[in-house]
């Protein structure tokens, strides 16, 4: 079978099971999201996948063969510790590119191409410690993708990036998927995961609490909110609802079922209220995550 498969992978540290029989399949190009609270086992899973730490049991295969760093062309963006602070950017990129099998000429060309795309050309001759966190993150990203890997593991790729650079990186990730890359992404922001991921795995205390295609998961949940935008105050019609947010005649309401939303819409129409927007909304990934994990929405 093609792609990446983790089957019943487990790891115990000092008698504590930190990853318990996790399985996932990434059999076509796309982004697979790993979610979980602090200590859920996301980073341990990634490190087992990359052979940075050894698994106690289970199987990890790539295109049907056990994962081996000599046969799988990995790209890894660690959450931290991915740059050498004292070394010049160009030198460390060249170091990794050459050790990933590129010729010096090909590496130079790739460094220039990526530096231009990520707008870090002016920093190539500076040591990493002189760069801002955001620019260091972009250098880490370059290290991960410079050798055109098949499987890319991104641990918090948007950490430290401003909105402009976040947008640049998002476009690059979209392009990588178009090029047929397999990407595993762990991220803080639920919105980011929702934007990119086709499949997700939510971990809690080392165990899988939810897994599958993101669209299917969301479809299985009933609508739980309504957003209304009107030309005047409609508080009098909302007595039976819990109002989550209300500002300038814009409302977000909690609903228990879709019928109550339809009844409300009917009531507003009957009373000739001008409605600019009335949207029945499915739960966000954040809602699903909180429900499943039962913890705060401040994840990871």
């Amino acid at each position: 079978m093609s792609g990446l498969i983790l089957k019943d992978v487990s790891k115990t540290f000092a008698g504590k099971r930190v990853v318990d029989k996790i399985s996932l399949t990434l059999n076509q190009p796309g982004v697979y999201g790993l979610l979980g609270t602090n200590g859920a086992g996301k980073t341990t899973t990634i490190r087992m996948l990359l052979s940075i730490i050894t698994k106690d049991s289970g199987e990890i295969t790539w295109n049907g063969a056990p994962v081996d760093r000599k046969t799988v062309n990995f790209g890894y963006l660690p959450e931290e510790r991915g740059v050498y602070p004292k070394v010049k950017i160009f030198d460390q990129l060249m170091y990794f590119a050459e050790l990933k099998g590129m010729s010096r000429e090909a590496a130079t060309s790739a460094i220039q191409k990526w530096a231009k795309r990520l707008k870090v050309e002016e920093y190539l001759n500076m040591p990493a410690e002189k760069l801002s966190k955001g620019n260091q993150q972009k250098i880490q990203f370059m290290t991960a993708v410079i050798h055109n890997p098949d499987l890319i593991v991104l641990d918090e790729p948007f950490s430290g990036l401003d909105p402009v650079n976040t947008d640049i990186l998002k476009n690059i990730i979209i392009d990588l998927v178009r090029q047929g890359k397999f990407i595993i992404m762990s991220a803080h922001q639920m919105a980011t995961i929702e934007e990119f991921c086709t499949d997700i795995l939510i971990l809690n205390r080392g165990k899988t609490v939810l897994q599958g295609n993101l669209k299917d998961i969301k479809a299985a949940y009933p609508a739980n909110r309504v957003q209304i935008d009107t030309n005047k105050n409609i508080d009098q019609f909302l007595k039976d609802f819990k109002i989550e947010n209300s500002k300038n005649n814009q409302y977000t309401l909690k609903i228990t079922d879709e019928k109550s939303a339809h009844d409300l819409l009917q009531k507003l129409v009957d009373n000739k209220i001008q409605i600019d927007k009335f949207e029945i909304m499915k739960p966000t990934l954040n809602d699903i995550f909180i429900e499943k994990v039962g913890a705060s929405n401040e994840i990871k």
Binding site: L50, I52, T54, R69, K70, F74, Y76, G82, L99, T143
Partner: protein, 256 residues
Amino acid sequence: MLGKLLKYDLRAIYKPLSIFYGIVIGCTLLTQLFATINSDSFFIIFCKEFFKGAAIGFSIGAIINNAMNIWAYFRQNLYGDRGYLMHTLPISRNTLLASKFITATITSFTTIALGIACVLIVNGSTSETLTIIRDNFVTSLQIALVFYLEIIFVIQCGISGTIIGHRFNYNKIALSIAFGFGFFIIFNVITTAILLFWGYADPSMAWIFGSVVPPNANIEDAMHTAFNFASVIYIVYIAGLYALNTHLLKQGIDLD
């Protein structure tokens, strides 16, 4: 891939070593310069002795620096922050280990060769030195080889200590040092025990422990035998430690 990795490893170790090399060569040249000046001036004699001491001191410092840099570099690359990316490169752990070992053999060789040359030069004229070496060529070579192998052995002890220490306590260095030092002590005790028993069996070998040897014993032959034995046993220890390191790395590395 070994070639590329070796290039970077050698560069990393030679970078700090080159400072020592420069000082050693500079001090040696200055010692020779002051030696050519025929003067009883205190300043000239002081300068000559000062640069001679500095040349010898920095030669020893270079050997120590070489070993410590190799240990630190090994630990940093395999178990430190650099390990996170190093272990995702398409390089097997055998290659990582082989590169560090070859680097140690090359840098130790050049460092010891430079140190020996410097010590010989600053302690006498070049012609006198060459005569001594020529007259005792085999013994000189044997002593140099044993010293070289001992340095490689010490470096290997440190690397084995780092690997085993890490397996026990993840990222704390104290246990790694204890294991490295433990290997060094254990192997030296074994060597001493072998030589002691050998000395009982063959009284001509008793000279090593300062005991009285039979009048008909050929001390020179016994010395050659002892140096050959030392070379062989260091090679066996180095090979044994290398095999142990390979085996342990094959079992995997857990970075915290």
